[in-house]
């Protein structure tokens, strides 16, 4: 899609005075950044209108709730006016631009939780999710790639069969179910770890900061969700990497590299490993987004106070501003994870850079 779009662009303005725009378009990274921003804008807009189109706007719902709770209509309406930054009387399109304008200033509106903004809530919870999921992905992908490589080199062997079996079995178990299994069997029945101690993101009383006690505590609390994420995903990475490595091993340049008398390690890393990883980068980005999205159940079950727990609470409370804010931030995180994957891919594979910038211009 992108190539045709740029082709049209180039054809429409053969000697465009807008040389800068063309140069930006032909810059691999800049173009990806622009596209990411566009995706975020589309999601933001869709989310805004979808929430507004839902039957019963949040203000009415809130007022009705307050009245049920015993307050008068007037006081309820006054509270609502304070809480919600938008006025249902203004036209929708005006609301939309106000929302975008506030968004550009980092203002996501107020939470129903009195006195806190949505931004504050997200800032308190999102880092924990990014930390635990990111850390788990790093381990799972690293482990998976390594195991996949070894499995491909020793295919048909004991290691190959056992990892294939364990990996695909664990992969077939949904991670929320696996989290329950870990808590019930690992924590309660076998007593491998202390369930109540590892709850939460860190022990109450430990001051967040850059010191050993806090970091060690954070890792300790993250260890259970991380274990769940790693065990349910590494098998997939290993199997995909194995398939990719087997294809790469049959490439001519690997035979030529052996003929050249290169050391096994050099061939394994720079010739086989590096080329085998290439097709996986895109997959890592999408799967990473999936793990991030499905973290909600795992965090709830393990009582890990990340952004998912926050989202769950917001949905229950009909806290639309917070729901919208969290979904938006999650979108941004996933879009940027994809952007990062594409940039990494272009750094690993020179052909991607060339084919898009050089050939089209």
């Amino acid at each position: 899609m992108s190539t045709t779009a740029s082709g049209v662009e180039a054809a429409a303005k053969p000697e465009a005075p807008a040389g800068l725009a063309r140069r930006i378009w032909h810059n691999y990274v800049l173009r990806r950044v622009l596209r990411s921003l566009f995706v975020i804008w589309v999601v933001t807009t869709a989310m805004f209108f979808m929430l507004r189109l839902l039957p019963g706007n949040p203000v009415d719902t809130f007022i009705a709730q307050q009245i049920r709770g015993g307050s008068t209509y007037e006081s309820a309406a006054a509270t609502a006016a304070n809480l919600f930054t938008f006025d249902p009387e203004t036209p929708l399109i005006q609301q939309y631009f106000d929302y975008l304008w506030a968004l550009l200033h980092g203002d996501l509106g107020n939470s129903l939780d009195p006195g806190t903004t949505v931004m504050e809530q997200i800032a308190a919870s999102l880092p924990w999710t990014i930390f635990s999921v990111g850390y788990a992905l790093l381990i799972a992908i690293g482990l998976g790639l390594l195991l996949g490589l070894v499995m491909a080199y020793r295919r048909g062997g004991f290691l190959d069969h056992s990892i294939s079996m364990v990996g695909s079995t664990l992969h077939a178990i949904p991670n929320y179910l696996f989290a329950i299994i870990v808590v019930v069997f690992g924590g309660v029945q076998l007593g491998l770890f202390n369930v109540s101690e590892t709850r939460g993101t860190h022990t109450a009383g430990v001051e967040p900061g850059f010191n050993f006690t806090f970091i060690a505590d954070a890792f300790y609390h993250a260890s259970i969700p991380v274990t769940v994420y790693v065990l349910t995903t590494f098998g997939t990475w290993a199997l995909v990497m194995k398939a990719s490595t087997i294809t790469t091993l049959e490439e001519d340049y690997v035979t030529v590299a052996r003929a050249r008398g290169l050391s096994g390690r050099r061939i394994g890393t720079q010739y086989v490993g590096r080329n085998a990883v290439l097709p996986m980068v895109a997959q890592i980005a999408t799967q990473g987004g999936f793990v991030f999205g499905s973290a909600i159940f795992v965090e709830l079950i393990l009582k890990y106070d990340g952004v998912s727990a926050e989202l769950y609470a917001a949905v229950n409370d009909r806290d639309y501003a917070t729901v919208q804010g969290i979904l938006l931030i999650m979108t941004i995180v996933i879009v940027f994870a994809n952007l990062l994957a594409e940039i990494v891919n272009s750094m690993l594979d020179p052909r991607i850079r060339e084919s898009e910038s050089g050939a089209v211009g």
Binding site: D252, V256, R260, G261, S263, Q270, L278, P350
Partner: protein, 353 residues
């Protein structure tokens, strides 16, 4: 003294629990500065033989017997070498590859790692063979530049390029340059020009001739194109069903083939020079290596075959015996005296009318 002596080399592939021999006892000697061509259809075992010489067979392949003796004379500081390549292991095998015998492959388009610059691939090859694994940047640049210039490439441009930035012909030249960077005594070329257009093919063949004259390596040229092979090689051997079935000088095989298969090959390949021969294909297909017939394996496709051919495999028979040091003409055919090239047979017919 030959630089490479191959004796009764046998190579098989495991397939469905059994071993199918693709090379069934090949003997030849390769002398310094000599160019030997191995010619045959696909499936004749010629590429397997090439890979086997460097011990580069795929996982299913296995050398089941024979000897590949490599000899290099000693110098002032170097000891004379004389060993069986099939007995090498580990680092010794790794160092034998490319520094003693290099190989230029068929899949030229894909011979370089796509994610490394050509310069890096020269550097890692040279470092892998440097005595201490250490080699200065300048040294690498200079030696790589030398080799690239000798294949008429501009080092400044090529070394900094990624493989996909070069044309097919340039990549093949770069690979030939890379093959010479360690000054091997044997260069194996497996269909080095197959994927290239005719003009580029021509340029590469001319260049190989020059390089051999200049640098004096022995060359094994593997091809299905007998015309091309006879142009480049001093000595030509035809392979069929895993064996050498005829060998002699390029002239012997090209002008007076004495095995019906060689004669058929000439007929089947439209030549660039030598007039407009009507291409005649060889009827039938190569035999199933897993179920070879008794007697001559070509008999079922051969118009000369007599009953004896189906029971006896004659082995190489002397056609023209020449004094030591020169190449004799041998053919594995009971009826070699009767064999005529298709075009010659045609002329005979016309003369008969």
């Amino acid at each position: 003294m030959p630089v490479l002596s191959v004796r009764d080399l046998r190579i098989g592939y495991r397939s469905g629990g059994r071993l199918v021999e693709a090379v069934r006892g090949v003997d030849f000697d390769l002398y310094p500065n000599e160019a030997l061509a191995l010619v045959g259809e696909s499936g004749s075992g010629k590429s397997t033989l090439g890979l086997g010489l460097l011990r580069l067979l795929p996982r299913t392949g296995q050398i089941t017997g024979g000897e590949v003796r490599y000899r290099a004379p000693g110098g002032d500081q170097v000891e004379a070498t004389d060993y069986d390549v099939l007995s090498l292991e580990g680092t010794r095998l790794r160092r034998f590859r490319w520094s003693e015998a290099a190989m230029v492959f068929q899949g030229a388009m894909n011979a370089f790692n796509p994610v490394l610059r050509i310069g890096e691939q020269f550097a890692d090859t040279m470092r892998a063979h440097a005595p201490e694994g250490r080699l200065g940047r300048e040294d690498i640049r200079e030696r790589a530049g030398d080799c690239l210039r000798s294949v008429r490439l501009e080092p400044g441009q090529v070394l900094g390029s990624y493989p996909h930035e070069l044309s097919g012909g340039m990549r093949q030249r770069a690979l030939i340059a890379l093959a010479m960077v360690l000054e091997p005594r044997v260069l194996i070329l497996d269909e080095p020009t197959t994927a290239l257009d005719l003009l580029t093919q021509r340029a590469i063949v001319d260049m190989l001739q020059e390089l051999r004259a200049e640098r004096g390596f022995a060359m094994i040229f593997i091809s299905h194109d007998l015309a091309l092979a006879s142009e480049l090689a001093d000595r030509v051997a035809t392979m069929y069903a895993g064996r050498i079935i005829e060998s002699g000088t390029a002239d012997d095989l090209f002008r007076e083939p004495r095995h019906p298969y060689t004669a058929g090959l000439i007929g089947a390949v439209p030549t660039v020079h030598g007039g407009a021969l009507e291409p005649v294909s060889i009827p039938g297909a190569p035999p199933d290596l897993a179920r070879l017939p008794a007697g001559c394996s070509f008999a079922s496709r051969c118009s000369y075959a007599v009953d004896e051919c189906r029971t006896t495999d004659p082995g190489l028979l002397m056609v023209t015996d020449r004094p030591a040091g020169e190449t004799s003409h041998e053919a594995a055919c009971l009826r070699w005296e009767a064999v005529r090239m298709p075009a010659m047979a045609l002329q005979d017919e016309e003369a008969g009318k």
